[in-house]
Symmetry: C2
Subunit: 461 residues, 2 copies
């Protein structure tokens, strides 16, 4: 090794602690740059919080940049490294330390995958509600650092709401342990909030106390057709009232999306393809409540709010309904491979999607877009066509992001900012907000060694 600092890290971490050379180059730079090798000088793999602390203290003293890396499934280049950076993975800090079935809490190391957490909860006849496609790779530390969302936010909240306690290591190696398994703990600033969703810029999450939930007793699931997203919002509101807030998913599908997913050769359309709007609604309930779900939909049809509906009668049918919303990778076949993730207040959604769609269509003959997403959470996803010219791509981005500022929307609902959306942050955060974030960053990481340049630029805008 030509970098003597790497020798120090290797000594510190022992065998297998340092990954360099070809082995490092075989790791991708990020999910969206799967063909590029990780550019870091080395990847460190500590085995304990103490080793994380020792690594950070050494990097802090030497002024070396540290880029924490979870399952590497993020979509905004939050883990991208520059040459000379030290990438840090908790892949050797895995496992569930404790599970208390009565208190419904789990103590887990940050390198553990989401799937392992879900499986351990299930083995105790409990439920960890966070779920997303990358569950087999995404880690506890990564999902905390990005405040992951997914399919059940409406009912259970985002990762933030599932974390009772947290341990993190600050830039200088200080271990801040707030691992109390308590629902209520009003003792000053709730420190874990500093590390949730800040993408590793304020500390490295090493362990957490997660809140588990009772396993759902069953689901009632339907796809409904209605006039527009405003009608969908009304349907959601009625279902929330009828089932006391137990709507666990409410997924909106604009017609172009529904048609793309039910095009010949893809999925059979459960409702005909000419309705102006579609929504998938799922309620957590016991089997005896299913007639009430049916009768709610009947009432909404009588009131002409719902135009048509199909209810799943089996788990197989339920999965078939979900596929139409969920298997968005098939949009690639329709030439719509580029994903976007934004938030829009309910009342502004219809106008926003109509306007942005029209703007995109006008950019180029090959331009195209479909909108869908967790509309019950204000979250709209777009898939757009990849255009040959970066300048045209920038126009598509502008069509999607720029209107959000005036609508009180957000340029990132659940994916985070990373490097990819850094230039858009100012559309959803004021100068005063960004300055406040920077003040906290300076206070906790004065040398700027922790994932600098992610979320906002470093050291100056």
């Amino acid at each position: 090794m030509t970098d003597p600092f790497l020798d120090r890290l290797a000594d510190l971490l022992g065998p297998g602690g340092l990954v360099v050379g070809d082995e490092l180059a075989s790791r991708p730079a990020s999910w969206t740059r799967a063909a590029e090798p990780c550019a870091a000088a080395a990847l460190v793999r500590p085995r304990s919080t103490e080793e994380v602390s020792a690594v950070l203290a050494a990097c802090h003293a030497a002024g070396r940049v540290v880029v924490p890396r979870g399952g590497a499934t993020g979509l905004v280049d939050g883990i991208l490294c520059a040459p000379g950076d030290i990438a840090l993975s908790l892949e050797r800090m895995t496992g569930i330390e404790a599970l208390d079935p009565l208190a419904m809490t789990m103590v887990v190391r940050a390198g553990t995958t989401l799937e392992a957490v879900q499986a351990a909860a299930e083995a105790a006849d409990l439920f960890f509600p966070l779920d997303l496609g990358a569950r087999g790779s995404a880690t506890v530390g990564g999902t905390i650092s990005t405040n992951a969302g997914g399919l059940r936010v409406l009912r259970y909240g985002m990762m933030r709401e599932m974390v009772l306690g947290l341990e993190a290591v600050l830039a200088d190696g200080t271990v801040v342990s707030s691992m109390r398994p308590l629902i209520k703990n009003n003792t000053g600033l709730d420190l874990k909030q500093l590390f949730v969703g800040t993408e590793g810029t304020l500390g490295v999450v090493t362990r957490a106390v997660l809140r588990l939930r009772p396993a759902p007793a069953g689901y009632a699931t339907a796809v409904v057709a209605c006039a527009d997203v405003d009608a969908a919002a009304a349907i959601l509101s009625r279902a929330q009232r009828a089932f006391q807030g137990r709507v666990s998913s409410f997924e909106g599908m604009w017609p172009d999306f529904y048609r793309a997913m039910t095009a010949p050769g893809r999925f059979a359309p459960p409702l005909h393809r000419e309705h102006p709007y579609y929504a998938l609604i799922e309620v957590e309930c016991v089997p005896e409540e299913e007639p009430r779900f049916l009768s709610l939909l009947e009432t909404l049809m009588t009131e002409e709010i719902v135009r048509d509906a199909v209810i799943s009668a089996s788990e197989e049918q339920r999965r078939a309904l979900w596929r139409i919303r969920d298997r968005v990778e098939l949009l690639g076949e329709a030439g719509l491979a580029r994903p976007f993730d934004v938030s829009v207040p309910f009342s502004a959604m219809a106008g926003y999607v109509a306007e942005a769609s029209a703007r995109i269509a006008a950019i180029h003959p090959d331009a195209g877009s479909v909108a869908y997403g967790h509309v019950g959470d204000n979250n709209i996803h777009w898939n757009t066509a990849q255009l040959p010219d970066p300048a045209l791509e920038a126009q598509v981005e502008a069509a999607i992001y720029e209107p959000l500022a005036a609508l009180q929307g957000s340029v990132s609902a659940e994916h985070g900012i990373g490097l990819e959306k850094r230039g858009k942050l100012g559309l959803s955060r004021s100068a005063a907000e960004i300055a406040t974030m920077r003040a906290v960053k300076r206070a906790l990481d004065p040398k700027g060694i922790l994932n600098p340049g992610k979320i906002f630029s470093h050291p100056v805008d």
Copy 2:
């Protein structure tokens, strides 16, 4: 006025903006010091965020301490002023600016009372779940700054979980507005978390976007008797599974508490007074589900987990059951007037209460204590006898607080730290945690003008 700075503030705020002299002296120092007048040099009453900003900028420039004050119903002296301080009240910044029934959100000024928020939600056939005895005085700003809890945290979370957006003014007058009405917004540090529960030490909350919920369709309510708090935890777990997390309150009553509340001349005991433990359980459900509630309790009786139970058959009976848990001011008649508020992990509760009770009883022949509280939230309240000698009182405090450090408990579940529990903070927060809180405080309020000395001492410990 002999203080020229007050003239400046008066000019800034116009008529009625400044309260001094007898009018100020008629305001109590705090809830627990109702007989003491507010010691501040003046109380300012801005009418807008701009005026709050102007006051803070002026105080910041002049190095004057500002102590924000909500409904003055807190129990930890978080609003206590020293001579020369500027007290700040948002009592002229009241009212609901907007309510979106479909999105189930409300935009509200921080001086608005909790009761007014609840009433406005109800008028829209919606529900604002936070509730506490002081609802008629407690304000939105105060309940956010103290992260208020109350009776429905188990189902709806604390005030933190009900705030979607927030506007706050920093020490130097900078307005940080994060008022987006979004469920998902992953754009860096979630700034509102800096102001929730930090007792006005990092900023003055001026407005908020609150999340409303569907109105509950009804309740099933019971008081059950069981062997101990561990059995109660098992009952809660079974009820959460049976009703998919819709247990809205789970209140534990240790036997001395139950006996005190059902003593002759107080409330008629719904279950006989010799059981070793009692719990009040309330589930949100529609009337058709009540048979399932009954059958759950029957099953638990067959399994000998529940020893006896009484279910309310009417709203009047429901209220009668609640009174036994809720009318704790009657404990004053039993000589148990001093309230405590702590958190304890479920698995440690039984041993903690047994040990602390025994320790308190051994302090003095007049010493006494009863334990009860929101045990479903890990939250135990104590009421103890007021002892004549401060040294004996300190022993009672030690018996209640000291064991919490080893048990991963908290010295404050929902009341906050303020001035009253400042000396106990180290029992629930490590030196690294407190140092991190201080670093954030210094970053946002470098001169220490915002409620200094609350939570932790200022400028040094």
